[in-house]
């Protein structure tokens, strides 16, 4: 127990020290995350060799015909090994078959546009059709600005589909990773039957800088971090990356009715 508190203290101190220099803060928080990519996550969570990615084909979405947007996506596809900011498929976790989706923040900070929203819906609907539990690792800077109002509509679309899945008896586990903000936090990310979060993950609707500008003061230490949300009753548990598979496996086991 003491260990956990100490860890949190040191984490908060790190943020505090770096607060004066936001660029450093951003680097400190994001760098380790970038090194740990979506494929690493699959390796850590799915039983070896069981992950089968959905083969979804999307036309290029660019509703605003926003300058440079399509080119940017093309570049990122080569760099990040995903077609948009999410990968989804089915796999097994300690033998439990599940649908697994993981958002990829290397791809435009995993902002949500049409393709991402549609992929989430496919994953949810596949899980519903095949009566499988659904696990989504969320991470996002929010709505994909370059897709304008259509990106906002993804919030309603994904929320509706998730709600239908849940009402039909589906189990949805949301795992909030750093950072989960904006339109994703205000839609499917916070609709889990069970909500887990990674230590130190920034989770909130508005970004810290926007809030500080609005209220005209610095935010308290640890504000909007996973531990803060746990204290305020919005997540079931903060789970370290090393223990994530074990915890997911346990939850899946607890939902097995035979």
């Amino acid at each position: 127990m003491v260990n956990v508190v100490d860890q949190r203290k040191s984490k908060f101190n790190r943020y505090k020290n770096l607060r004066e220099n936001p660029t450093e803060l951003l680097d400190a928080v994001i760098k380790p995350v970038q090194e740990y990519g979506v494929r690493d996550r699959v390796k850590d969570i799915a039983d070896e060799g069981t992950f089968k990615e959905f083969e979804l084909k999307f036309p290029e979405t660019d509703p605003l015909e926003f300058e440079g947007y399509v080119g940017k996506k093309d570049e990122l596809r080569d760099e990040t090994d995903s077609h948009d900011a999410i990968i989804a498929g089915k796999c097994k976790i300690d033998g439990h078959p599940v649908v697994l989706a993981i958002m990829n923040k290397k791809f435009m900070m995993a902002s949500m546009g049409i393709e991402l929203g549609e992929t989430v819906c496919h994953a949810v609907e596949y899980a519903g059709k095949h009566k499988l539990p659904l696990i989504i690792f969320t991470a996002s800077g929010g709505a994909r600005m370059q897709e304008g109002i259509l990106s906002l509509m993804q919030m309603a679309k994904t929320s509706a589909v998730v709600e239908k899945f849940k009402q039909e008896g589906g189990l949805y586990i949301a795992v909030l990773t750093h950072p989960t903000t904006g339109g994703v936090s205000a839609s499917f990310a916070t609709l889990g039957d069970i909500t887990l979060a990674e230590p130190g993950a920034l989770i909130g609707f508005a970004g810290p800088r926007v809030i500080e500008q609005t209220i005209g003061e610095k935010l308290p230490e640890g504000f909007q971090r996973a531990e803060f949300l746990e204290e305020h009753g919005f997540v079931d548990a903060v789970v370290e990356r090393e223990k994530m598979k074990e915890v997911l496996s346990k939850i899946l086991k607890l939902h097995c009715v035979k």
Binding site: P59, Q146, L150, M153, A160, A186
Partner: protein
């Protein structure tokens, strides 16, 4: 007209507010307050009213009509308690079979410390999810600024209408310019690029119809002139609501919920081809 001019009109302080729409389109309004969870948020205004002899639930963002009201209503920027209050009213409407009419006019959900602490994201998400299943007709009218998730949080409706000079967008043009170009001063350009006018949204298939503001949209209209013109606007809104409700007359609760679900499930259909929809069988 340039998009930024629409933005300015949509935000004009003299533009009719939710209290005007309720006073002029409905009768017997009974205001309901509170989220029943310990908080009241004046930036969401709502209750039960009569519409041509039929009880309806009506609610929306309230910006206030003078400085004092602006402050009380937090300029129409709800916290989580506002969204929870809206949800309470909507669930109650469903229980009693009342259609729901929402008026959307907000710069966005409030980005404050308490709002975050009490679950702004979760409150909006809960509304999006619950509204998608409501078994009574929901009609949303964007009357001014429909900005971000703060607008959508009460706008998951069977029919979504916009006043001619209203705007509806993922973020304010200032915010958009700031995020994408690191320069909020480029708001005029952002407003153009974002495609946030009623006409743009109709073309995208995101809204169902535009309610004309002929003669009322501009803030420079003389007060008296505006008075009668506003009456014409209220009459048009009345007509639009009447037509929408007639469409759902005699429909089963399930089919009403289903129409709304399908509307949002397929809201971006024109940007996707059907090929992508059949690939799921591969796994």
């Amino acid at each position: 007209m340039k998009a930024i001019e629409r933005v300015n009109i949509a935000r004009d302080k003299d533009r009719p507010k939710i209290t005007d729409y309720i006073d002029n389109v409905f009768t017997d309004f009974f205001e309901q307050k509170g989220d029943y969870l310990g908080k009241e948020d004046a930036s969401i205004y709502g209750g039960i009213a009569m519409f041509h002899g039929r009880p309806v639930t009506v609610l929306g963002h309230r910006k206030g009509k003078n400085v004092e009201e602006n402050v009380t209503c937090n300029f129409g920027m709800p916290g989580p308690e506002g969204y929870r209050k809206a949800l309470r009213l909507m669930k109650q409407a469903e229980k009693f079979g009342r259609p729901i009419i929402t008026f959307v006019d907000t710069p966005g959900a409030y980005p404050g410390l308490e709002a975050e602490m009490y679950g702004q994201a979760q409150a909006i998400a809960a509304n999006l999810a619950a509204m998608s299943t409501l078994k009574v007709p929901v009609i949303a009218i964007v009357t001014g600024e429909g900005s971000s998730g703060g607008a959508l949080g009460i706008a998951v409706a069977n029919k979504v209408y916009m006043l001619e000079n209203a705007i509806y967008s993922v973020l304010s043009p200032e915010g958009f310019a700031s995020i994408l170009w690191h320069d909020s001063a480029r708001r005029d350009e952002a407003a153009e690029v974002m495609k946030l006018t009623a006409k743009d949204l109709l073309d995208f298939g995101v809204i169902d119809e535009i309610i004309s503001e002929r003669g009322v949209g501009l803030s420079v209209v003389e007060k008296e002139q505006a008075g009668s013109a506003y009456d014409r606007l209220y009459a048009r809104i009345d007509k639009q609501i009447t037509a929408a409700l007639a469409e759902f007359e005699g429909k089963t609760p399930e089919s009403i919920a289903n129409q709304r679900f399908e509307k949002f499930r397929k809201i971006d259909e024109r940007f996707l081809d059907s090929e992508s929809l059949v690939q799921m069988g591969n796994v």
